[in-house]
């Protein structure tokens, strides 16, 4: 397989884009991405595209991508893998280029959640995640599925609600500087703890806001990278892991086997270990998920995730910053776009251009889990020269 690098990355702001449809968001994200390509990008450079979209706003997703970019000759494959959609689109595009089939490919991710009325959103999206006869009628809303894990995790580990709140405070603080984030304000530990309960043990600030948005990456084979940039960000490892779909079939709910499987593949492919990672974007759809993921990704010992937030290890300025972009928590979570947007943040981090720059960041990790908790994707990226220009 050939080496493959990201040569351009961009995204729209995430938010409630009532005034913008998916056909607007896709060209906006593409333009932001094209602008980042150091030596310039022509649309005709792109030979194939992988499009991550969980929903189908305004119809057939692949065709909408080709139409809205004005690229009728472009072969587009739509990827749908629940919350892991974005990073799985990266993974599939990587294989397309590494194999030699294409030299330059486009990865995009987008979702338009707020085109569905909030009244109907819940049952509509639940239908994508649950067994129609057994689990759907229970009202196991998305936060509740994750809460079943976190509740048990808190039962078996020393983790408290304060530790969950510390994750929220950290990611909100990171989000303040990010112009693409939806929630750009700081919160205090007290605010997080006193917020209204959504599902136990999650309060309002433990949850990420459902949002609209799009993100784009251009990837190129090593043979042609120099046409676009002298500072590529290499895709070193990708992994995709699955687990039982039904929560009642997961023997140990304090860990996500999907994540450990995906991470194992990605680290093996990269020839790296968790100790090599300098900065990461971790799936914090709910605060407790970030803590469990520290352990599943190999950043913390089992039931030791809370120590990392207590000691501010995962804050920008700490030894292993997690979610310098603000994470899903502050940025928002349009599922198809989320994983691609994580790579947009890491592209900037590994080129030394991020708004919350992690000093000397060389290796970055992106992680998603969803499906619900039945699929995870991990992507490992490496900058060209210690992240500096």
């Amino acid at each position: 397989m050939r080496k493959v690098a990201i040569v351009g990355a961009g995204m729209t702001a995430f938010g409630e884009h009532f005034a913008l449809g998916i056909k607007d968001l896709l060209p906006m994200a593409f333009a932001d991405c094209a602008k980042s390509v150091d030596k310039g990008l022509a649309k005709s450079d792109i030979q194939g595209a992988w499009f991550g979209a969980m929903g189908t706003a305004d119809g057939f997703p692949s065709g909408i991508l080709a139409d809205s970019l004005g690229l009728p000759d472009l072969p587009v494959t739509r990827v749908e893998n629940s919350c892991a959609t974005g990073n799985d689109a990266v993974r599939n595009a990587l294989f397309g280029v590494a194999s030699g089939a294409f030299d330059v490919a486009l990865v995009m991710g987008a979702d338009k959640l707020r085109d569905t009325t909030s009244k109907d959103m819940l049952w509509k999206w639940e239908a994508m995640a649950r067994d129609m006869a057994w689990d759907y009628p229970l009202g196991l809303v998305s936060p509740a599925g994750f809460a079943l894990h976190v509740r048990r995790y808190m039962h078996e580990s020393p983790t408290t609600r304060e530790h969950l709140a510390m994750v929220a405070v950290k990611n909100h603080r990171h989000g303040v500087n990010n112009p693409k984030a939806r929630l750009r304000f700081e919160i205090t530990l007290e605010q997080a703890l006193e917020a209204p309960t959504i599902v136990t043990p999650f309060g309002l600030y433990d949850c990420a806001p459902q949002s609209d948005g799009a993100a784009a990456l251009v990837i190129a084979a090593e043979d042609v990278v120099e046409r676009f940039t002298d500072r590529p960000v290499w895709i070193r490892g990708v992994g995709l892991g699955l687990d039982s779909v039904m929560h009642q079939h997961k023997p140990d709910m304090t860990t996500f086997p999907a994540t450990t499987r995906a991470a194992k593949q990605a680290f093996a492919m990269a020839g790296m270990t968790p100790a090599d990672v300098d900065v990461s974007e971790v799936h914090d759809f709910f605060t407790g998920i970030e803590l469990i993921s520290y352990e599943d990704l190999g950043f913390a010992e089992r039931f030791g995730g809370y120590k990392l937030v207590e000691a501010e290890v995962t804050s920008v300025g700490g030894a292993l910053p997690v979610n310098p972009s603000g994470g899903l928590k502050a940025k928002g979570h349009p599922p198809g776009a989320t994983g691609v947007a994580q790579c947009v943040e890491l592209f900037a981090q590994l080129r030394g251009e991020a708004v919350n720059q992690v000093d000397g960041a060389r290796v970055g990790l992106a992680h998603n889990i969803g499906g619900p908790t039945a699929v995870a994707a991990v992507t490992l990226l490496e900058g060209s020269a210690h992240g500096a220009r």
């Binding site: 009244k119 109907d120 819940l122 049952w123 239908a127 067994d131 129609m132 006869a133 057994w134 689990d135 009628p137 229970l138 009202g139 196991l140 809303v141 936060p143 509740a144 809460a147 079943l148 894990h149 509740r151 048990r152 039962h155 209204p196 309960t197 959504i198 599902v199 136990t200 043990p201 039904m246 929560h247 009642q248 079939h249 709910m253």
Partner: protein
Amino acid sequence: MPYVASIGTYLPCWGAPQHRVPGDDEDAITLAVEAGRAALIASGAVERVVLVSRDMPLLESSNAAVLLAGLGLDPELEVDERLGGAPATLDAVSSARPRTLIIGTDLDPAGAAAILTAERGLQVRTAARVARSLPVRTRNATGDVHDYGDPRLLHERGLVASLAAAWLDTPSAVAGVEHERAVELCIGAPPPLPTTGASASLFALAGMADAGTTGPLVAVEQASLSGVTVSGGVAELHRREPPARPAPAGTYLEGADIPISLAAYERAFEAKTRWEAGRFAASDELDFPPRYRLAEDGALASDYELIPLPRTGTVYTETTVHMPVPGLRTPYSLVIVELDGVGVRALVKVTGAEAGTVDIGARGRLALRRVAVRSGVPDYGYMFEPERAA
């Protein structure tokens, strides 16, 4: 002349002691299943089922399949769904052959009671039957209620006139009227009854069996009346009548029609309403829900048999949903329950307890409830009822 081998009763835990209300997850069928299962603790044979109510959840389509599944009875049994009140249930008892399970079930006040007939037990025989018309309250096929609003007319020309026409001895118990009325009409102290509809006459029978009283038992509905005479003999009695608690207010968010796939409903029905897992021959493993399996060589195994699951277990994890969910009352609790001794977990809602009161490690039982109403279809499944603190 029928004999009553066993009596089972059920009252929802919500409402006032003498006026229970069903939970959001209960309807006339789930109440009937609870009472029927209580009557069947005595483990007699059942050859047919008579269900009496004026609150049947489905008037078109049938309630029989869910009833039999919930009771754990053979789907080949005859189920007689009778529209009626307290006299109709007593009529069903009078004419019952042995091994008939008769259940009366009501929603307002809520409760259900069941009896199983046999060749021996508590003896009852028909004493009177009068059908007269005095429709002071009516409800038509679309549920429209009209109340004439004259309780004295109902008492004088309904109950008193029908009793006179029936040539009955002074009753020992009267079902279908308020307790004060029953006291006026009876000798001794008639049992206070928690319901006034189809289940009331069986609650009265339970009360007489409890107190060891004999004599006429009269059941009335407006101006119609049936009577039996209870003589000697013993029936096994199982009451599932928890103390009453105020129903949690919660918040109900209107405006959702929760969709259903009837194809998925039909596929899941047996395992879901009978609480059964799949098991393949020569395997100890249970699949819940049941599923096909592939062998290592890719060969398909689809011929699993359904095995009853334990109905008790321990909470492995829990969450309580406070956010508004269209079409459901919040808050509500969900639990994953580790079923006793089989290595199977189930994801279910909590019933019979205030939301948020069930903790990890709690013990309880699984009971048939109406999990949701989806596009007009009552969707039945099992829920976790925690053991009450002693």
